[in-house]
């Protein structure tokens, strides 16, 4: 009798294992840590709707995501900056837009800067707030670390070929940049627009506020795409998942989280 139960259990374990193995499809997504929380959200809702599909989301950074898509390790690579010319052979799908907000301390009198002025601040040409009519205080410039997608986008959209100056404080996440700017009256930094809270003040660029509307109409210039990249044109489950992401429902999910939908 005992042996019989044992056999039943073994059989049950094996057959369910097989069942999962045969009918469950796994989609692997890897890449940008900026995209990761949103991809997680999509995956979570998608797996609830289609229980036989497993969506596995991993981080690693934009460059790692592109590598993973290229080599086929991941079905979808995610990227939080524009593709470089040498990466253009991949298939790219824009899944959302994210604004970059330039933030200062909430008591800072400066509320508007031109892109050129921001470039001068981050390149170290202008070091004092009094140049903009503020207090006679040295500007604390806060930036992200080399390799970060957010820094990559900022470099491309604002700095161009100019380097961010070497005296700038470097932090390794949006959260810590925001924390420093929230506590230092003389600080300036840049973070993802969705993460701006009332502890810091987002300044307008060339007189244009970083609002959803201004981003959709392309008036606000610091906008970066969130990309899904695939090696070939997606088919099967991967295509279904991407269709879900681009659907009304999928786009609605990220709008709640502070991103700008694609359509």
């Amino acid at each position: 009798m005992r042996r019989f139960i044992f056999v039943i259990i073994i059989l049950a374990v094996f057959t369910t294992g097989c069942a999962r193995g045969f009918s469950d499809k796994e989609i692997i997504i890897a890449g940008s840590t900026s995209v990761e929380p949103f991809a997680d959200k999509w995956a979570e809702v998608y797996m609830e709707k289609y229980p036989n599909i497993v969506v596995n989301v991993q981080g690693g950074g934009s460059s790692a995501g592109i590598q993973a898509a290229k080599s086929g390790v991941a079905d979808i690579g995610t990227c939080s900056r524009e593709l470089k010319p040498e990466e253009k052979d991949l298939n790219e799908i824009i899944v959302a837009f994210d604004g970059l907000a330039v933030i200062v301390h909430s008591t800072n009198k400066t509320s508007n800067l031109t892109i050129e002025q921001i470039k001068q601040i981050f390149s170290g040409q202008i070091r004092n707030w009094k140049e903009f009519g503020g207090k006679d205080k040295i500007i604390t410039v806060v930036t992200r670390e080399e390799g970060s997608g957010t820094r990559g986008a900022f470099q491309e959209l604002v700095m161009g070929k100019t380097r961010i100056f070497k005296g700038a404080i470097v932090q390794d996440s949006n959260g810590t940049v925001r924390e420093i700017v929230a506590n230092d009256p003389n600080a300036i930094g840049y973070i993802s627009l969705g993460l701006v809270n009332d502890k810091v003040k987002a300044i307008s660029l060339d007189g244009i506020m970083a609002t959803d509307e201004n981003i959709i109409t392309k008036k606000y210039s610091l906008v970066r795409p969130f990309l899904f990249v695939t090696k070939n044109t997606p088919t099967g489950e991967v295509k279904d998942f991407i269709d879900f992401v681009l659907s009304q429902e999928g786009q609605g999910l990220i709008k709640e989280e502070g991103l700008i939908p694609v359509n």
Partner: protein, 287 residues
């Protein structure tokens, strides 16, 4: 060979294997760091890498001089703060405080060594950094903040080893000195310190090792700018924080350059340890 002897032999072999496995880990780590790190040093030139002023991995410019200087400055700062305070504390507890106070305070000091470094970093960010920013100027995240926090972090090491070595000095030394008419302070400075010298130096070396290797607390409070600081109120990046900050996103040569940073750190620590060992041995010889 009896059963007992055979067992003895087996245990000996097992212990030897365990001892060598610890060393083999070191060998594997060393090999791996050098294997990953040296190609990029060779490609961009030893001189450019070690004495380059610019660290812009996205533009293939890998110069780590500012970080070497950063590590040295922060460690020196930590020693300037940690050694006097630590030794003063050790002397007070061994020479001047009663046995009861020592019995209470020593375990408390040793407890300090067990606090995770991220907690020190957090306290630094919340209390020390705003204090420096408001009272001394600058961004607060600075060489000074990192030195103070590291100085406190290495104090338990310095204190507890110094106490042990001061207590190990034979009683007759102290009694002889006092019998000759020296005051307690003179006895401490002229007799106890020289006699406990090698233990005190060992404590400082271990403290220095902790300061130069510390990563988490430093990332949180040093500001991490890749720049040679002009004053102690400027931000700075150390070799260890460079590796920890950028390893998450790095690929290709950038990643290799981070391993190369590890190679340099490894060599610096080897040099410091060897120098300190030689010094400590010399001091012992003089006694």
């Amino acid at each position: 060979m009896t059963q007992l002897e055979r067992n003895e032999k087996l245990i000996q072999i097992a212990l030897a294997i365990i001892a060598f496995s610890a060393i083999s880990f070191l060998a594997v780590i060393t090999f791996f760091i050098f294997f990953e790190g040296t190609p990029v040093i060779i490609k961009y030139g030893f001189k450019n890498f070690l004495f380059g002023m610019d660290w812009f991995p996205s533009e293939k410019s890998f110069g780590i001089l500012p970080m070497i200087i950063g590590s040295i400055e922060v460690t020196a700062g930590a020693l300037i703060i940690g050694i006097p305070l630590g030794l003063a504390c050790a002397v007070t507890l061994t020479e001047f405080a009663s046995k009861r106070i020592r019995q209470i305070l020593k375990p408390v000091i040793e407890l300090l060594a067990g606090i995770p470094s991220v907690v020190y970093g957090f306290i630094g960010v919340v209390i020390l950094v705003p204090f420096i920013r408001d009272n001394l100027g600058g961004p607060g995240l600075s060489v000074l903040a990192a030195s103070i926090v590291l100085g406190i972090m290495i104090m338990p090491t310095i204190i507890s080893i110094s106490i042990d070595s001061l207590l190990a000095v034979p009683r007759t030394y102290r009694e002889g000195s006092i019998a000759l008419g020296a005051t307690q302070w003179q006895t401490t400075i002229m007799v106890m310190f020289p006699a406990a010298r090698s233990g005190i130096i060992t404590s400082i070396i271990l403290g220095m090792g902790r300061a130069i290797g510390e990563t988490m607390a430093v990332i949180m409070i040093a500001g991490n700018a890749v720049n040679i600081p002009h004053s102690i109120l400027d931000p700075v990046r150390t070799l260890t924080s460079n590796i920890a900050l950028e390893i998450g996103y790095s690929t290709g040569e950038h990643r290799q350059a981070l391993f190369a940073t590890g190679v340099v750190l490894f060599i610096i620590i080897m040099i410091l340890n060897t120098a300190a060992n030689i010094m400590s041995r010399k001091m012992k010889g003089q006694n």
